[in-house]
């Protein structure tokens, strides 16, 4: 007998429908699998057989052929175990064809018949809905994730036996065996734990750096922090996601999809916090940008809509950093491998930290004995094109002990977040109908339109241009940062004082010219 069962394959953050065909005929008993399968899919045969046996189902000796269609699409992962098992059961006549029709199956099988979690449930379910599929059965742990997508009944199964019972049952009985899982995404977002983690108020002193972090978060500008060890660079970086506006539902689904594809979702239904990734400086290029025969998302994609923090920037391998050049411009990364051509989103805020010199204490000449060429060499290790994409630089200084003891507490993360949220509203209105989302995105060609300067301001910029010996690029960067500062101040027009403040936080390209 011939049977078909629906399943899905991952293509980056997209998905495609896969039809699992099983044909069982009389003949020499054997099971053959075809359809461009990777190793783990081919092994699926053994898992399915053992799982079926341990679920108490006897498989009669038949000549079975299994095809995963479209046969030219490379199949990867363990999610085909369950659909193959269901297909075999159907082909061998255990239940009526109609009972499994229009249901999508995903799940890995244990030898004991247990159904285990798989990657990428969210994008596959989304694709299924787009194709008009009305029902799906996924591992119980992934059910909440799948239920994020409206318009489809998502059921979570723990055992192969349950699925078997479900397929044999009819109508209302089915609901009892595998109830439909429902989760409301918007509720999840609202119910999200109030911000309890790291708070900005815990950072003592460093008012200038905190100000820079606020500006950077408000306008989605990339930020570079320079300072001696122990000044609080990492501390500030860790707190930046907490002052960015909360994820919108759309953003949250984007982030969840990436984490789902990467298999990092666990049993969370939705990622509600902005991602914060802080890779070690030994990270390789594929780990950073994404890689593998069928490429998986790299750190830059896992930082999508959040913060990518690179501590000890000069220690990173130059080629790894250079791999971020295109994603920093395009907000996505295209990875081409033999296995396919994939695009992952990578719209992140880059926050970098570094010491000013090899010993870390320059310009404190009592501690720092680095020579000028040594300092230049150290700074020169940072790839120029990466620096070129950083709008703000801020210097941190060793914290004085008086700052560490009690005293003045700065703004809390919640307070800052409110201001940042307001600036985001302003930007949403400003950029309505354009491709831009934040001031940090604006390209040189649109500067006149979005960051217009008055006469006095132009005059001020000219003087800055001469005084600081700016490049044309840096000129625009200062204007963009000034735009955000003006937005923070609630001003419609960019004023001289905004330009001056923006100029103090020089674009990274300018700092070693001093």
């Amino acid at each position: 007998m011939y049977s078909t069962v629906l399943s899905g394959a991952l293509l980056g953050v997209q998905a495609a429908m896969v039809l699992v065909e099983v044909d069982a005929t009389n003949g020499l008993p054997s099971i053959n699998m075809v359809g461009s399968l990777s190793g783990e899919v081919r092994e699926s045969k053994e898992r399915v057989l053992a799982a079926l046996k341990n679920a108490g189902i006897d498989i009669p000796p038949k000549h079975v052929t299994i095809n995963l269609s479209p046969a030219d699409l490379r199949k990867e992962g363990t999610a085909y175990d369950l659909p193959i098992a269901v297909g075999m059961l159907q082909a061998l006549g255990f239940f009526q064809k109609a009972n499994a029709e229009e249901i999508l199956f995903l799940g890995e099988l244990g030898l004991n018949g247990e159904i285990r979690t798989v990657r990428g449930v969210l994008p596959i379910v989304r694709e299924a809905v787009a194709r008009g599929v009305k029902e799906c059965i996924v591992p119980l742990e992934n059910a909440r994730e799948g239920a994020m997508i409206p318009g489809i009944k998502v059921r979570g199964a723990k055992e192969l036996e349950q699925v078997m019972c479900f397929l044999l049952a009819e109508g209302k009985e089915r609901e009892k065996i595998l109830p439909v899982v429902t989760v409301s995404a918007s509720e999840l977002l609202q119910e999200k734990d109030p911000f309890t983690g790291n708070d900005f108020a815990e950072v003592r002193g460093q008012e200038v750096a905190k100000r820079a972090a606020k500006i950077a978060a408000a306008g989605f500008h990339n930020l570079l922090m320079i300072g001696p060890p122990g000044a609080g660079k990492s501390m500030i970086a860790k707190r930046i996601p907490g002052i960015m506006p909360p994820l919108s539902l759309e953003e949250s689904l984007e982030v969840t999809t990436i984490y789902s594809v990467a298999g990092l979702l666990g049993n969370r239904a939705l990622i509600t916090d902005r991602p914060f990734q802080s890779p070690h400086h030994t990270i390789s290029l594929p780990a950073l940008t994404g890689g593998g025969t069928i490429p998986r998302p790299g750190i830059i994609s896992l930082s999508h809509r959040g913060v990518l923090f690179l501590d000890e920037l000069p220690e990173f391998q130059r080629n790894s950093l250079d791999g971020m050049r295109q994603p920093l411009e395009d907000k996505k990364i295209q990875i081409t491998r033999v296995g396919g051509n994939l695009t992952y989103p990578a719209d992140f805020m880059l926050v970098c930290a570094m010491n000013p010199c090899p010993c870390g204490y320059f310009p404190n000449r009592n501690k720092c004995r680095c020579t000028e060429p040594q300092i230049k060499h150290y700074a020169g290790r940072v790839s120029g094109p990466i620096l070129d994409r950083i709008d703000l630089c801020v210097e941190l200084h060793a914290v004085e002990v008086t700052n560490l003891h009690g005293g003045y507490l700065g703004e809390t993360s919640t307070q800052i977040q409110k201001q940042v949220e307001q600036v985001r509203q302003i930007q949403a209105e400003r950029f309505a109908g354009t491709n831009y989302r934040f001031n940090g995105d604006v390209q040189a060609a649109d500067m006149e339109r979005f960051c217009p300067l008055g006469e006095a301001e132009k005059n001020c910029m000219e003087r800055l241009y001469e005084e600081m010996g700016l490049s044309a690029r840096s000129y625009h960067r200062i204007c963009k940062v000034a735009r955000t500062i003006a937005d923070l101040a609630g001003e419609e027009r960019i004023r001289t004082e905004h330009l001056l403040e923006a100029a103090m936080f020089r674009p990274a390209q300018e700092i070693w010219k001093m």
Partner: protein
């Protein structure tokens, strides 16, 4: 000294392997190059150590092969040097700086491009650390500029840090400066001073006792320091750590009988330890360019014109800085303030009060925005503070030294 002798001296000096002492012996024993070139090796060994004799004999043979006679060879080499825009002056020539003849172990000749420093003008050597602080930079710049304006040449080693900064400042102020190198005059070391090197050849000179093409060998630098101090009437040490090349120059300068002035620093600054140590040992203290110049002028005129000459300031010594009487509105400068204190920066004129309060807390040691804000008498936000600081930068009254640190300009 005739031309032939100069050619001969140049050739001997261009043999980097020979010591000054050996060259002197050769000049004494064999005054004629033609004769020297024909001498067999054994005879050279009679008055020279064998390794020197070997080198010399080989060079002589080479010279004979290329030009036939010794005289011809040394002449051709000298002309080649001139063609490349470099000059040579031998000790004994009238152009040779007279000041150098009085120091122990004077260079037997000097290669130079540009000019040679004149003996008539009073010149000052400014030396100090390569890794100078913002304070050192400021003092070196101020003194260099001041001397440049007054037409007193600045002598230094064209190194990174204090050397280069003071020379650059003097040249920018329209003055003259001379750089004494530890490598050939056609070698620019350090490379980062390429611009300064170019300017020096036009408004001053590059000097070296080493033949053109000599690489910057570490051993050459302490030796050239004797020329730096030798060419100057006084030596100013701007910033020096305890163990540094600067201390070598200072001891050489003292041997040569030069006045050594030292810029005092804070006792907590490691880069001023060397200076403070010198002061402890009795060196003269440099406080401001005006009084410094006045003091050394007196010594200079006493020395150069004999006891009968009258002591008078050279033209332009009258305070050029605008008098403070108009703008010292609050009398903040205190009762000790008199005409001599003009070198102290008076409050900038025409600055609005909101910027002045910031300017007052600025210093020549870099301060971070937070420090500046804390030192202010009134409370203003960090943000406001940065804005005002940047305004000061734009008006040229302050300087942003690193992203977060400012100094008074």
């Amino acid at each position: 000294m005739n031309v032939e002798q100069i050619y001969y001296a140049q050739w001997l000096l261009s043999l980097y392997e020979l010591s000054n002492k050996a060259i002197r012996i050769i000049q004494e024993k064999v005054p004629d190059p033609n004769e020297l070139f024909r001498l067999p090796k054994e005879q050279l060994e009679m008055f020279l150590p064998p390794q020197y004799a070997q080198v010399l004999w080989k060079k002589c043979q080479e010279g004979l092969r290329s030009h036939g006679s010794g005289q011809e060879h040394v002449k051709c080499l000298f002309e080649a040097l001139e063609r490349r825009g470099m000059h040579f002056v031998a000790m004994g020539q009238p152009e040779y700086p007279a000041r150098l003849t009085k120091i122990p172990d004077p260079p037997l000749g000097l290669y130079y491009s540009g000019k040679l420093p004149s003996d008539k003008s009073l010149s000052v050597a400014i030396i100090g650390s390569r890794e100078c602080s913002e304070y050192g930079r400021h003092v070196a710049e101020t003194l260099g500029r001041f001397l440049g304006e007054r037409g007193a040449p600045v002598i230094s080693g064209m190194a990174r840090g204090v050397d280069g900064i003071s020379q650059q400042a003097a040249l920018l102020a329209g003055g003259e400066s001379y750089g004494v190198l530890g490598c050939g005059v056609d070698v620019c070391y350090p490379k980062s001073n390429q611009k300064l090197y170019q300017t020096l050849t036009q408004h001053g000179g590059i000097l070296s006792e080493y033949p053109p093409g000599t690489p910057p060998l570490a051993a050459n630098f302490p030796v050239r320091n004797r020329i730096v101090s030798g060419l100057a009437n006084a030596v100013v040490v701007v910033e020096a750590a305890l163990k540094s090349g600067t201390s070598i120059t200072v001891s050489l300068a003292l041997d040569q009988g030069r006045d050594v002035y030292v810029v005092p620093g804070r006792v907590t600054d490691r880069l001023s330890d060397g200076c403070n140590q010198l002061i402890k040992q009795g060196a003269a203290v440099y406080t401001d360019p005006e009084s410094f110049l006045e003091e050394i002028q007196q010594t200079f005129f006493l020395q150069s014109m004999g006891p009968k000459a009258s002591v008078r300031p050279i033209s332009g010594t009258a305070p050029a800085l605008s008098s403070h009487s108009k703008d010292s509105d609050e009398g903040a400068l205190g009762p000790t303030h008199d005409a001599k204190d003009d070198a102290k920066p008076s409050e900038p004129y025409g600055l609005p009060e909101r910027l002045k309060i910031i300017w007052r807390v600025l210093d020549h040691t870099p301060k971070s925005v937070e420090e500046i804000q804390k030192d202010l008498s009134e409370t203003i936000s960090v943000q406001e503070c940065t804005i005002r600081l940047m305004e000061l930068v734009l008006t040229g009254k302050a300087k942003q030294v690193t992203t977060g640190q400012f100094v008074r300009q």
